[in-house]
């Protein structure tokens, strides 16, 4: 059967969007199917994300918009899968698109209909805490912005139809059947929240008004939520002072059928507590938990800051049994144990950290697709194929595979996309259309006509800065011909509006005053391209990150500053010039640095995608640290897997392996990198399009707990090898966790060691059933389904003793034996153990080589010296430097399956580069005015990228020439050029000076006044 160069993705949350964008950018047609009327999933409901406190909508909106307008992505919202036929490479899918009763081609999302609709119903997007109309859009930034009539509540009065200027209402619309023909399928339906109604008896959810769920709190914290960002008690609308968070509600609870850990709720609760305290002054958050599972990159830092800087109260080992209510005050009473005593405390508000369960559509999808679910109705995968279902050609991503956080989801989504595209890689570019923009308008000779769009950003800006006043001010500035304000300038409908207004008003410069150009600049640049304007005719004023957010308590001054910032943008915009496009050829190959399992998987996937892979390994064999592993948590045969992987690599003629090889030098730019290798002492040069960093990590060699001083004190890896060889003899075993992790000098959690210990403990019990195993730990962080094995271990009789940094176990020699003394927190007594083996769970360390490699590749490291990705949430496997990616332990400690997901994810992201033969180059580079250049060569001397060089022009005249592809536009040469012969485009002297002059404009007015008047004028503004 012929393969089809299209992929269907079921589920349009952040996972589905990521898969869709990867595939669409790599030359495949994508059908993104979502049962909801809009895409965006659960992330769209979040206020902030941990550990960066990034505004969720802010970082997601550009992706939403990109997905919504991508020419190779077709959105099928309000749609469900009816039938699936076919096989890997060629599936036929029947989809039913439920009638919206509003025409997608006509609705502009203006929202007039909702103003007039007489029916109000609880808004599920706001978790029932707000009302919406029967005709509605799920959230303001929704993609598509098309409204939907909720037929369950609509009374058919026809008012919306009479009010709709676009004539978009179509009551008679009927469901539509679609048949899709695709090569591969990605299933990413996300998750559902555990049904808290089941907790009515214990926690009073639905019974006591002031018991809410963590997603409800999230909506309260959101500017677009029910109380504009404030936390209020549902019972009386008062600000709560004392707020309790109860963890593990619907998680780690076998009695309700969900014994697994939901992975994200600990961090979610900390984040909510921090943000709630920030939003409501005087609020005190108190988190009751069992183990604090802050296992991700820089999560522990966040946890520590929450406790030490924000003063959040944490009380551990407290599974709150029940909540009762004071009927008069509707306060809630919680009983808990602190310092061995039972305490009873009243709270104003109780937040239940609700667990994740399988998506409600899971069984239907499983049935339609024939995919297997695990015992908890999540999609079944194995550690070697973390994004594959049991059906070839059908892949899985996101929380449907297991509860997980956003970066894990995004990585998996890209990983699944790699599998899908590899399957149909032969059909690349067969079903896609070229992305076209209208022909660029020649603005030569025109006076600047500037349009300014000032964003409220919900209340992020508008809550502090008087946005309408800014708009009125902007209208008075020279060359500004149009100004308006928007609730969210980044939303899809506003993009359309900007385009429309640019055309109507003949704008030749566009300014958006909102957030940071670092994240949102490209979005708006594309928008104005859609209006026929060169993208460099766009300018941004950052009145949120640099104004409303940092001057929250000085609204008048913030408004003045916002005006100044926009004025500066206008001054610069007047001088902006269109820049020509230039193109870069891409060499279709990848260098993968690191021959561990991550690198091997990446190489294999690159080859499957149809490109050449150069796999560089510094030692004499592939496999890395996995060479020391034997079996997985579920008994998976890792040795066999590794052998098979090696043979696949060996037999693939698109992969070239370089053993005993290091990178000596690295230069070039995206699509055209050049790597100088030292291969066994010989130099070799490789040219490549992209680079994937998969250098792995290593096991810490403990300096504590007498490691190295006794032959039966071993690390987990050493002990694992011994265990596997059958050489372990003994009856009593003690494991110590967090050896070198979560210490003051190395504050991060190594993520894998808890599970590693459980795995080895279970193996000991299996091989030596009459043995005793103790695990001494700080928190058990067996997140996700790993929790089941923790449970197994306790059932198996493994004994767990908790310690903290103040009460670390003491290890000493007892004759030939080992003695361990530790304080058991539960019984508050010192315990002495005399094990046959002491097994240490050491930290996972970043490679020492990271620093040099980072220097060479010009990519950053995190403070813990792992590689630092471009964005912690949404760009987990790539660097800010174009064409350089990362995966696996190089990023942070992680599990086998996570490494494989990331390896494939990095390939998927790399394919968005490699699949293009020609890429658009950066245009804001430096250029030489030949007439002015005196050929002194200063630019040539100082440029780090060797972009300028002196060339002979005419009669022996030496002139500097700048290589467009090498120039990064830093502008150092322009400054070094004494006589101004070099201009850095888009950052020209006059463009920058115009901002300086505009920044000083207030002074101009002051100085024109008589001194005394200026004084009084100034003191008025100083007083407010």
């Amino acid at each position: 059967m012929e393969k089809i160069g299209a992929v269907m993705i079921a589920g349009g949350g952040i996972a589905g969007m990521q898969s869709a964008l990867d595939l669409a950018d790599s030359g495949f047609k994508v059908y993104l199917v979502d049962s909801s009327p809009t895409i965006g999933g659960a992330m769209s409901q979040l206020d902030k994300t941990f550990p960066t406190n990034d505004c969720a909508m802010c970082i997601m909106a550009p992706k939403l918009v990109e997905t919504g307008r991508h020419h190779n992505i077709e959105l099928l919202t309000n749609s469900s899968i009816k039938d699936v036929k076919g096989e890997a490479g060629n599936f036929t899918i029947k989809v039913t698109k439920t009638a919206r009763r509003v025409r997608e081609d006509k609705c502009t999302g203006c929202g007039i209909c909702t103003l007039f609709c007489p029916i109000e119903v609880p808004d599920s997007y706001n978790k029932g805490m707000k009302l919406r109309k029967a005709i509605y859009v799920r959230y303001p930034q929704a993609v598509p912005p098309t409204h939907t009539i909720d037929m369950e509540h609509c009374i058919g009065c026809g008012i919306c139809e009479s009010q709709c200027k676009a004539n978009a209402i179509e009551y008679a619309q009927s469901d539509e059947e679609r048949e899709l023909n695709v090569g591969a399928i990605i299933v990413s339906p996300g998750f559902d929240e555990f049904n808290l109604e089941l907790m009515r008896r214990e926690y009073g959810f639905g019974l006591f008004p002031n018991v809410i769920s963590s997603p409800q709190l999230e909506r309260m914290l959101s500017a677009t939520g029910p109380y504009r960002g404030l936390v209020l008690r549902p019972s009386d609308g008062k600000m709560p002072k004392k707020v309790a968070f109860i963890q593990c509600v619907g998680s780690r609870d076998r009695s309700i059928g969900n014994p697994y850990c939901s992975s994200v709720c600990c961090m979610f609760a900390i984040k909510e507590a921090v943000i709630a305290q920030e939003h409501n002054q005087g609020l005190q958050a108190h988190i009751f938990f069992m183990d604090m599972r802050a296992y991700g990159k820089e999560f522990d830092d966040y946890y520590i800051r929450a406790e030490q800087e924000h003063g959040i109260l944490f009380t551990r080992n407290n599974r709150i049994a029940d909540v009762s209510q004071d009927p008069k005050t509707q306060n809630l009473i919680l009983n808990y144990i602190k310092d061995g005593e039972m305490k009873s405390e009243e709270f104003d508000l109780v937040v239940l950290s609700v667990g994740m369960v399988f998506p409600k559509d899971a069984k239907n999808l499983a049935e339609k697709f024939g995919i297997n679910l695990n015992e908890f109705n999540f999609c079944d995968t194995d550690i070697f194929n973390p994004t594959s279902t049991n059906i070839p050609g059908i892949f899985v991503a996101g929380a449907f595979e297991a509860p997980k956080d956003i970066p894990g989801t995004v990585a998996q989504a890209s990983g699944a996309a790699a599998h899908a595209s590899a399957l149909v890689s032969g059909q690349r570019d067969t079903l896609v259309v070229e992305k076209t923009f209208p022909e660029e308008i020649d603005i030569g000779g025109q006076d600047p006509r500037i349009g300014v769009f000032v964003c409220h950003c919900g209340i992020n800006i508008g809550g502090v800065v008087d946005v309408p006043e800014v708009v009125e001010y902007v209208k008075t500035l020279p060359n500004v011909v149009y100004a308006e304000h928007n609730l969210y300038t980044c939303s899809q409908d506003t993009q359309e509006k900007i385009k429309q207004i640019a055309q109507e008003q003949n704008l030749n410069r566009v300014i958006v005053a909102s957030c940071t150009p670092r994240t949102h600049g490209p979005l708006f640049q594309n928008t104005i391209r859609g209006a026929g304007l060169n993208p460099y005719l766009f300018e941004m004023a950052n009145i949120r990150d640099q104004c409303s957010w940092v001057h929250m308590h000085e609204p008048d001054k913030a408004t003045d500053k916002a005006k100044a910032l926009v004025r500066m943008a206008v001054a610069r915009a007047r001088l902006l010039e269109p820049l020509p496009k230039s193109e870069i050829e891409i060499s279709p190959s990848a260098i993968i640095i690191g021959g561990g399992v991550t690198g091997m998987n990446a190489a294999l996937m690159i080859a499957e995608e149809g490109y050449d892979a150069y796999l560089i390994e510094k030692t004499d064999k592939l496999g890395g640290i996995v060479n020391r592993l034997h079996y997985g948590l579920r008994g998976e045969d890792i040795r066999k897997y590794l052998t098979e992987l090696k043979s696949k690599i060996d037999s693939n003629d698109k992969i070239k392996v370089y053993l005993n090889t290091t990178l000596e030098n690295f230069s070039g730019f995206v699509g055209n990198y050049e790597a100088e290798l030292n291969v066994n002492g010989n130099k070799e040069t490789l040219k490549t399009g992209v680079v994937i960093v998969a250098t792995g990590g290593k096991e810490y060699k403990p300096e504590e707990y007498m490691y190295g001083e006794h032959d039966r004190i071993l690390t987990q890896l050493e002990f694992g090898e011994l265990l596997n060889e059958g050489k372990v003899k003994g009856k009593e075993f003690v494991m110590i966790q967090c050896v070198g992790s979560r210490e003051e000098h190395r504050p991060y959690c190594s993520r894998i060691c808890c599970t590693h210990a459980i795995k080895n403990a279970l193996k000991i019990r299996e091989l030596h059933p009459d043995s005793k195993v103790y695990i001494l730990f700080k928190d058990m962080r067996t997140y996700g389904f790993r929790e089941i094995y923790y449970e197994d271990a306790t059932r198996e009789g493994v004994l767990f003793i908790r310690f903290d940094n103040e009460t670390k176990p003491k290890v000493s020699k007892d004759g030939d034996g080992i003695k361990i003394e530790v304080l058991d927190h539960f019984i508050q007594e010192d315990v002495a153990l005399y094990p046959d083996y002491l097994i240490l769970s050491p930290a996972t360390l970043p490679n020492e080589g990271n620093y040099d490699l980072a220097q060479m590749l010009k990519v950053p490291l995190s403070k813990d010296k792992f590689f630092l990705e471009a964005h912690m949430k949404l760009r987990p496997v790539e660097f800010a430097t174009e064409g350089v990616f990362l995966a696996g332990l190089a990023h942070s400690p992680k599990f086998f399956n996570e490494c494989i997901s990331e390896a494939n994810a990095a390939v998927s992201r790399a394919c968005t580069v490699l699949s293009k033969r020609i890429m658009e180059a950066y245009s804001a580079i430096s250029v030489v005015d030949e007439f002015k250049c005196i050929g002194c060569g200063t630019c040539e001397e100082i440029c780090e990228y060797h972009a300028p060089s002196l060339v002979e022009k005419g009669s022996g005249k030496l002139v500097s020439e700048i290589n467009k592809a090498l120039c990064k536009g830093c502008g150092a040469c322009a400054v070094a050029c004494c006589n101004g012969a070099i201009t850095t485009l888009h950052f020209k002297n006059d463009q920058i000076l115009s901002m300086v002059e505009s920044a000083a404009e207030e002074l101009k007015r002051e100085s024109s006044k008589p001194a005394e008047e200026a004084q009084t004028g100034a003191s008025t503004s100083g007083a407010d």
Binding site: T52, N53, C55, E278, T516, P517, R518, N542, R544, D545, Q546, C547, W549, V550, H551, M552, H553, E554, K557, A558, D560, K561, A564, L565, M568, K858, P860, A880, A924, I942, E944, Y945, K968, C970, G971, A972, A974, V975, A976, T984, F987, N989, I992, L993, M995, V996, E997, A999, A1000, L1003, K1004, S1007, A1014, Q1015, A1018, S1019, T1020, S1021, G1022, A1023
Partner: protein, 160 residues
Amino acid sequence: MAGEASTKPPADSEHHEAQTPPPGEPINLIAFCCNWCSYAGADLAGVSRLQYPPNVKIIRVMCTGRIEPEFLLHAFELGIDGVLVCGCHIGDCHYISGNEKAEVRINTLKKLMDMIGIDSRRLRLEWVSASEGTRFAETVKDFKEQIEKLGKNKIYIAQS
């Protein structure tokens, strides 16, 4: 560290500028931030809601190596009270050494400022990484206080 030398006030201060600002006259500061580290650091200060004085306006450049001494001197000419230049830490420059170049140029300009009679403490170079939102906010706070002590920049040249 190399970066610190440039940020120290000059040892000999022969300047006769006012020690206390006239009440109520707001201090007007600008900050040049490099796109990759310091602008991101300022963004982080925003995301983290770290409050700092609103007297500062940021001008984004791709790299501190792009900053012509003229941009800075021109600001003083126009009456700006203090100019902050923020770049990546030494060694972290996105363009390898732009910040080192900036440091040399700024040190030269500081000498020149002292000769022409603009207190060189009005110009400050700081390294702020993308993860140092706090450092950015603190730097602005501190700089504002320092400039307040120096008083208003009395140079003001009307531009025709």
